[in-house]
């Protein structure tokens, strides 16, 4: 009884069925714009929150890190180190990775500078010995990140020629620690909000299933497999997720635009080259991808739970 007309192969059929369903789903959602937009907006807000916070943390660490470049570390050399050796050491250090500048200041130069700056010239002349040590001033190159810079600084303080190092960025380390904690919190929050998206989409799909109960019964009566019945709901969930991702992108982008002015002013105050980093292409993809995935999970989970309970009788 089967006919001779060709039926599409597996892949062709998969593409055909999903395309057909996707078009139908978009059409159906388009005909109910208010409820569609409401659900998509809830998903969008839920996605925008972690995305925005993530961006905030990213920018804050960029700001704080850009300050690190202005932090110089002074390595006070031991008195036993000769001027020649000191100069050579400064040369050596300059070649190290992570060091942007390294300047040797001899004891005499230190003294001259001090005299000039302090106005204690007369008093110092009373001293027989020059009490000031030679110093190598290091300006770190912060391109490799805060951790690498920190590691380098600790290494430098352990050099045998170095008596003492004045590394003045304890507060920066604290800021990093706080930012690390905030970053972790954003991660946890993201997980919770992802769950919220799944539940939101799931609940909308559940109502949809209730409304289309008779239709599902008829489908089952004429031999529709579960995968077929599931498909429109799956597509609906994915549409909600994608639309939510797009809305989230708009929210975050809008917030960035609103913040860009103040950020430029802030950067100006600190004379840092910092500029607000926006949503990159990959971040945009990630937001849409998260929407897609969470929408798919939410609808699949709901349909799987409810489909078995609807049976024709």
């Amino acid at each position: 009884m089967s006919s001779a007309a060709p039926r599409p192969g597996l892949l062709g059929r998969w593409t055909q069925d999903h395309l057909r369903e996707f078009v139908a789903t978009v059409g159906r959602l388009y005909r109910e714009p208010v409820s569609t937009l409401l659900t998509a907006a809830v998903v969008g807000i839920t996605l925008a929150l972690p995305a925005g916070l993530h961006l905030l943390v990213k920018n804050l660490s960029a700001i704080s890190f850009s300050w690190e470049g202005s932090l110089q570390t002074s390595l006070f050399l031991k008195d036993s180190v000769s001027a020649a050796r000191g100069r050579a050491l400064a040369q050596e250090l300059r070649r190290r990775r992570g060091v942007q500048k390294s300047e040797y200041i001899s004891r005499e130069q230190s003294l001259a500078e001090f005299r000039e700056l302090s106005g204690f010239g007369e008093a110092l002349q009373l001293l027989e010995d020059n009490p000031l040590p030679a110093v190598i001033v290091i300006t770190p190159d912060t391109r490799d990140g805060a951790e690498a810079t920190d590691r380098l600084m600790t290494e430098l303080t352990r050099l045998p020629e170095v008596e003492l190092a004045k590394v003045d960025h304890k507060w920066l380390e604290r800021l990093y620690a706080i930012l690390g904690m905030v970053e972790r919190s954003v991660l946890i929050l993201s997980a919770v909000l992802a769950l919220a998206v799944i539940v939101t989409v799931g609940n909308t799909i559940r109502l949809d299933i209730e409304n289309r109960r008779d239709e599902i019964v008829v489908m089952k009566l004429i031999g529709a497999p579960d995968a077929f019945i599931r498909r429109p709901f799956l597509h609906t969930g994915i549409c909600y997720g994608l639309a939510g991702g797009a809305i989230a992108w708009i929210f975050v982008h809008g917030a960035l635009l609103a913040l860009s002015g103040p950020a430029r002013r802030l950067a100006g105050l600190y004379e840092s080259g910092f500029s607000l980093s926006g949503l990159s292409f990959s971040a945009t993809l990630a937001m849409l991808g998260a929407g897609f995935l969470l929408g798919a999970i939410g609808s699949f989970w709901t349909v799987s739970r409810h489909l078995g309970k609807i049976e024709p009788a």
Binding site: P6, K220, I222, P225
Partner: protein
């Protein structure tokens, strides 16, 4: 095996009800067409439901096309139902879709290509005389027209077994005869057909076997036509 449907002493009772079918045994041969008769409430719809796996017998075995329904796994039920064309007493149409889409649905489920679907749907609608209504919504159709949409949907896939529950209930005599003619044509190309019906005077003119249900059992009596009833 030469039967398409085989009932081995099948009984059925609905939860909380009495026995609707008791110890039913019958065979429908492959390529046979038969009528199922009996008074209202005799269990005709129930018997068809058992074949379509819309209900499970309380006792006994049903074998359809070599498949024992008792051992059919749940996930294989859709594929099993796809072999059967079912015409329901209450139509079971989708009221938010056009006539065309309703009839196309079984083909969409089976993954037919777009052009193929159009051709087959029009052929099926043509055979029930509804080609001009393909864009109509079912709600805007008369009862008889809706019934014919249901018939078109059942035959569009060319099933091996056609089950029809009261398919002429809403049709005028001419349309009813035409519908039986559609079934006959299908039967002629090898489709097995089982029709539950009250149209006794109609089936008395046709050369097919009658399975008569009475008191939950298959009876040797023949159904009584309208004209034969005594009335004072």
């Amino acid at each position: 095996m030469s039967q398409i449907v085989h009932f081995h002493s099948v009984s059925h009772r609905y939860p909380g009800g009495g026995e609707v079918l008791a110890d039913i045994g019958f065979r429908l041969a492959k390529g046979e067409m038969a009528f199922l008769t009996g008074r209202s409430g005799a269990g005709k719809s129930t018997l068809l439901k058992l074949i379509a796996l819309l209900a499970r017998p309380t006792r006994g075995q049903i074998v359809v096309n070599g498949q024992n329904l008792a051992t059919l796994k749940r996930r294989h039920i859709p594929l099993y139902r796809q072999q059967i064309g079912i015409i329901f007493q209450n139509f079971n149409l989708l009221y938010d879709r056009t006539v065309f889409d309703n009839v196309a649905l079984p083909l969409v489920i089976r993954g037919y290509a777009h052009e193929d679907i159009g051709r087959r749907v029009r052929a099926a609608l043509d055979s029930v005389g509804l080609l001009h209504k393909e864009k109509a919504m079912p709600m805007t159709l008369s009862g008889g027209e809706q019934q014919r949409v249901g018939i078109a949907r059942a035959i569009v896939t060319k099933p091996i077994l056609l089950l029809a529950d009261e398919p002429t209930g809403n049709l005028d005599p001419e349309m009813a005869l035409e519908t039986m003619e559609i079934f006959r044509r299908f039967n002629e190309v090898g489709v097995s057909v089982l029709v539950a019906t009250h149209a006794i005077d109609l089936i008395q003119q046709l050369p097919y076997r009658v399975i008569h249900l009475d008191g939950g059992r298959i009876s040797k009596d023949q159904p009584v036509a309208f004209a034969e009833l005594d009335h004072e």
